[in-house]
């Protein structure tokens, strides 16, 4: 599937959050992920601290969707709720139309750090999610080897993670998520620990790989440019408690080009998003 978003007219490319998740999808396919009305608060020393408030978002099949927001806006909590690790106080999570609220094992996950298992070789790390679902090791390994060669990790199949550079480890971690049997991928700031050069290299690598092998992706990032470069839609979160402030449809056609970061429209969107982010940071900033 390609991005169905109609490029918005030059006037207002940004629509405010529409609760399309609340109503059943009118299209033929149910959304890969449908989060509706999620609220969550944690209690700390007897006080209840709201972390998420009425968050609704949708990831269509084979769509790349990003979440950006100030730190501490509850993005990771949202991931934990989608992944079934944390139960929401209110709201529901659906995948392909089926309710999965509080149910583990229905997403494929890539954490901030590669978190590769140091005692497993790279190929055994990459097949881990499949192995957990009972796949035959030898078969999974064979496919893993093909993929490792494809992403430039050929020759490192039997190496242990500590022998790889940070960027290579992240590639392996991404591959581990990509080869997982689950359809929806959650990527939690996967490049935040990398240096700037490696980071932009990894962004291009991920973009290319994803455009060839479409999957439904929900991506958390702090980088506006990263979000614009990769995604079809961006949800802008407020500071704590996290709510969705804006939904931005990114109008650029795919495959995305190297030079798109120079487009006036790209720069305009970037300015717009930066403005919102600054506002939010300023609201929560002086308090801490």
């Amino acid at each position: 599937m390609t991005n169905k978003t109609v490029p918005p007219s030059s006037g207002e490319p940004v629509k405010e959050e529409t609760p399309d998740a609340a109503s059943p999808d009118s299209g033929t396919e149910a959304p890969a992920l449908e989060v509706s009305g999620i609220s969550k608060s944690f209690s700390q020393r007897g006080r209840s601290i709201p972390v998420l408030e009425q968050v609704s978002l949708t990831v269509k099949p084979d769509e790349f969707v990003s979440i950006i927001g100030p730190s501490g806006c509850g993005k990771s909590t949202l991931f934990h709720i989608i992944g079934g690790l944390v139960k929401p106080d209110a709201g529901a999570v659906r995948m392909n139309g089926a309710p999965v609220t509080g149910q583990r094992g229905s997403v494929s996950y890539m954490p901030q750090q590669p978190a590769l298992f140091p005692w497993r070789s790279i190929e055994d790390n990459v097949i881990l999610a499949r192995e957990l679902k009972g796949a035959a090791r030898s078969e999974a390994r064979e496919e893993a080897r093909r993929w490792l060669a494809k992403v430039g990790l050929g020759g490192f199949e039997k190496a242990y993670p500590h022998m790889l550079s940070g960027g290579m480890q992240q590639r392996a971690a991404f591959l581990r998520a990509l080869l997982a049997p689950q359809e929806l991928m959650l990527l939690d700031e996967p490049f935040s620990a990398l240096d700037a050069l490696t980071r932009s290299e990894m962004q291009r690598w991920l973009l290319e790989l994803w455009e060839e092998n479409r999957r439904s992706v929900l991506f958390i990032t702090h980088s506006i440019e990263e979000a614009l470069l990769l995604s079809s839609r961006i949800y802008v979160f407020s500071g704590r408690p996290g709510t969705i402030l804006h939904t931005v449809d990114v109008p650029f056609p795919r495959p995305r080009r190297e030079g798109m970061t120079e487009y006036p429209e790209f720069l305009r969107l970037k300015r717009q998003l930066s403005g919102w982010m600054r506002e939010e940071q300023a609201k929560s900033g002086p308090l801490r």
């Binding site: 934990h80 690790l85 094992g105 996950y109 954490p111 978190a115 298992f117």
Partner: protein, 254 residues
């Protein structure tokens, strides 16, 4: 090769110097042989009573090789149980520590009363000495599982059993081994103490007999043999660790 030699020679020279000093001062100050025999006397006596020493050494080795693995196994089992069933940790941890506060020497005769004069009380004594470091280190290792990896496992829908076998256990292996190494260092001492409480073989028994005869040279020979056994066991554990934890980055490579 040269760098390895550089590592070996300082302790080697130190030991040789120590032995030389010992030898010289014993002759110089005319120390009685039953008080402190010279290294050369110990060596001569060791050669002379080699056959009986060999028998006792093998007995101690056998006892150690039964008690030590059993103790380690019980230690691992305790760590796993206390980790998997959280309330059991709260209930049993004080008991665990208590088991180490009871003086082993006092426990020996009691064990003989309960379990007779056979091998059993000795094996239990060694197990008591060996299981504790393994249990504590193992429990610590299991509790310190990497949070990101744990999150990954949970997100991927891993079962409790998968989380344990594919993450927590391998993650705890290095700290488990630091416990096993401590146990290995104690095991032979534990066996020697166990042999003091009864029976008619082993280095502990031998030392006790020689003590009554004021054969200090023979006691020293037995001590040296038990130290060698201990080192051997320790080296074996280190080798096993190197093989099982071969994925760990080498310290000098970090």
């Amino acid at each position: 090769m040269i760098s390895r030699w550089k590592q070996i020679w300082p302790p080697l020279v130190a030991v040789l110097l120590f032995l030389a000093l010992w030898q010289v001062s014993v002759t110089w100050f005319h120390v009685e042989k039953w008080m402190l025999p010279a290294p050369s006397d110990i060596w001569r006596e060791g050669i002379a009573s080699a056959s009986s020493l060999k028998g006792h050494t093998l007995a101690t080795l056998r006892l150690t090789l039964i008690g030590f693995p059993l103790g380690v196994a019980v230690g691992i089992a305790a760590a796993v149980l206390l980790h998997i069933v959280p309330w059991s940790a709260r209930a049993l941890y004080p008991l665990l520590i208590l088991s180490q506060n009871v003086p082993i020497i006092a426990l020996g005769p009691l064990l003989v009363i309960w379990f007779g004069f056979g091998q059993l009380p000795k094996i239990i004594l060694i197990m008591l000495v060996c299981f504790f470091p393994v249990a504590v280190a193992g429990l610590g290792g299991l509790a310190q599982t990497d949070r990101m990896m744990l999150q990954f496992m949970k997100m991927a829908g891993a079962s409790r059993r998968q989380i344990f076998s594919k993450l927590e256990l391998p993650h705890a292996l290095p700290s488990l081994f630091s416990g096993i190494k401590i146990s290995a260092a104690y095991a032979v001492t534990g066996a020697v103490v166990a042999e003091l409480i009864g029976g008619n073989q082993g280095l502990g028994y031998y030392m006790q007999i020689q003590k009554s005869a004021f054969r200090t040279d023979r006691m020293f020979a037995a001590i040296i043999l038990s130290v060698l056994l201990s080192l051997l066991l320790f080296a074996a554990v280190v080798l096993l660790e190197k093989w099982l934890v071969r994925w760990k980055p080498r310290r000098d490579a970090q």
